[in-house]
């Protein structure tokens, strides 16, 4: 087992490596910033008029949900990056070095946090431009919401780390992400209130953590009744991380170059 200082130092080196790469991959950078912007504009102006969001303007209802979706998918960079590292044999190099076993993954998940901060700035900018306002929320509630978002992003980075390590190519990682995980975000209260859904789907949506996350942020940012969503969100984050981080690390130990 590597000592903690070793793990921290290795994580820093690798997080730095991941961040250095980002501006050199313009396609990735564009996906990261333009895609969420497109989603906000699409939902606010195309679908928004036809969606009944109760007493709220749709943009106010939508922004917390769409930010949750974007931040959760921020970890997708990790899935793509790891599957590429496996495919190119870079993981072999790392595994043959006397470095921490967890650092390749913690380096990834921490650099995702930095990227997610960047993404938040872009999302807030486009949200405010589209007419979003905080309603009845204190500075502390806004900040708690941001902390929660970054933790959600972190938990999903581990899920995507596992996806990346199980994918033989970045293309496979891409299709797993967009056919299995992406639809999950739609079967939730991210875009529309769950009450409007038919039986069966509604119960599924209500149990979906994306609903819990979105509703938690709505209670923090636009003053909806809080229920248990905020603390349940933290529980979900802890549970997802506790399940997927060890799974990803154990997969990393045995993963072979394809």
């Amino acid at each position: 087992m590597s000592s903690l200082p070793t793990t921290v130092s290795d994580t820093r080196v690798l997080a730095g490596r991941n961040l250095k790469r980002i501006p050199r991959q313009p396609d990735l950078l564009i996906a990261y910033t333009v895609q969420p912007v497109m989603f906000v504009l699409l939902f606010v102006f195309v679908f928004g008029g036809a969606i009944d969001s109760g007493s709220f303007d749709y943009v106010d209802f939508l922004m917390p949900g769409i930010i949750v979706q974007s931040i959760a998918f921020g970890g997708f960079v990790t899935a793509l990056g790891l599957s590429e590292d496996v495919q190119k044999g870079l993981i072999d190099r790392f595994r043959s070095l006397p470095m921490s076993r967890a650092a390749v993954l913690t380096g990834r998940t921490f650099s995702d946090v930095v990227l997610n901060c960047l993404s938040l700035v872009v999302l807030f900018a486009v949200g405010f431009a589209a007419g979003f306002n905080f309603i009845d929320s204190s500075v502390a509630q806004v900040l708690l919401g941001i902390v929660l978002l970054l933790l959600i992003g972190y938990a999903f980075s581990w899920i995507f780390a596992l996806v990346g390590l199980f994918s033989s190519t970045p293309e496979t990682a891409n299709s797993i992400g967009f056919t299995l995980i992406f639809p999950l975000t739609f079967a939730s209260s991210v875009f529309v209130p769950a009450q409007t859904m038919p039986d069966g789907l509604r119960q599924f949506a209500e149990a979906n953590p994306f609903t819990t996350f979105s509703d938690a942020l709505r209670s923090l940012w636009i003053g909806t009744p809080p229920h248990s969503d905020v603390w349940m969100s933290f529980v979900w984050v802890a549970v997802l991380t506790a399940i997927f981080a060890p799974l990803a690390v154990s997969r990393y130990r045995t993963v072979a170059a394809k």
Partner: protein
């Protein structure tokens, strides 16, 4: 025995029902180059991956500088360098950044990692490209960088898995020079290759593996010696003279000359004076010679004879039935 930097005994590894290694033994003395030779899928890469702690063996023993690949994996990793057939460097980092990163992951302090990176960049003639992302590099430059990354921490043992596969001849020669330089400095090298010329030039000892088993072992000369001496090939002006040529040459060769397609092939004990004598004999018999050449056995011949993949030649006969059943 303590002199062996690499020691492998009874090594076994299966992938599902496929046996990649079925009890392989080999050893490399400290400071020597061991060539692992074999066709694709023979188990060479599996052996290297086990020694580099990337794969766990199913059975047997594997040690590097006396450290066990299972028990002492963490310590062992600080003693090895690995350069693979797929140049494992980050395409989006520059050459310098790649080497600095590897240095930092060996836990060198930043200034130390940077100066070592610069030293290697200069040593591997990558100075002009140091600040360019690796995706702009040629194949040869990538391999040099990959090898440089393996050498960051001055490892006493170096694993090179098909280091020159896919390289142009010029880059190959330059990489060979570099590897020879490391060996001269005392590094032990385990080299896997499909190129017999590469094994011939670099390896002190060669282990031939096929279907997960060691089928021959020795120096290049020993292996060549095992399949016989030199051969004289004579192409005749008129193929109809072949029988006459055989009787003219019979006295000077160690086994019955062979005829094929207008040529006569003669096994001789040593080449000295043989060409002149063959010419005299054939001339005396009034036979016209189109071409005459001396053929030394190469590692290719050894390889073909051992792995039974020969298209012609009797020496492979015993191996052929096994091939068919497989």
């Amino acid at each position: 025995m303590s002199d062996d930097a690499i020691l492998v005994e009874g090594l076994e590894k299966s992938y599902g029902s496929v046996k990649a290694l079925c009890g392989v033994d080999f050893a490399a003395r400290s400071g020597s180059v061991l060539g692992l030779l074999g066709p694709n899928g023979a188990g060479k890469t599996t052996a290297v991956r086990i020694l580099a702690t990337l794969l766990e063996p199913d059975g047997g023993r594997a040690e590097v500088t006396g450290l066990d690949v299972r028990r002492d994996a963490a310590e062992l990793r600080a003693r090895i360098g690995l350069a693979g057939q797929y140049a494992a460097v980050d395409e989006n980092l520059t050459g310098f950044e790649n080497l600095e990163m590897v240095g930092r992951l060996y836990h060198l302090a930043r200034p130390e990692a940077r100066s070592r990176a610069q030293e290697l960049i200069d040593g591997f003639e990558l100075t002009d490209a140091a600040k360019r992302p690796v995706k702009t590099y040629s194949g040869g430059m990538r391999r040099r960088l990959d090898l440089a990354a393996a050498l960051v921490y001055h490892p006493p043992v170096l694993f090179l898995d098909e280091p020159t596969t896919g390289l142009d001849p010029r880059s190959r020669l330059s990489l060979w020079d570099t590897i020879e330089g490391r060996v001269a400095a005392g590094t032990t090298v385990l080299l896997t290759t499909q190129y017999l010329e590469e094994a011939d030039r670099l390896a002190d000892r060669i282990v031939v593996i096929d279907h997960g088993r060691v089928i021959a072992e020795g120096t290049s000369d020993e292996l060549k010696g095992e399949i016989g001496g030199e051969r004289l090939d004579v192409r005749l002006e008129d193929p109809a003279d072949a029988e006459t040529a055989v009787s003219a040459l019979t006295g000077m060769c160690i086994e019955e000359p062979k005829i094929s397609d207008g040529s006569v092939s003669v096994a001789v004990r040593q080449r000295k004076g043989m060409v002149a004598e063959a010419v005299r004999r054939l001339d005396g018999a009034g036979i016209g010679i189109d071409d005459i050449s001396v053929h030394r056995p190469t590692l290719d011949d050894v390889f073909i004879s051992l792995t039974g993949q020969a298209a012609d030649g009797d020496e492979a006969d015993t191996q052929v039935p096994e091939e068919v059943s497989a």
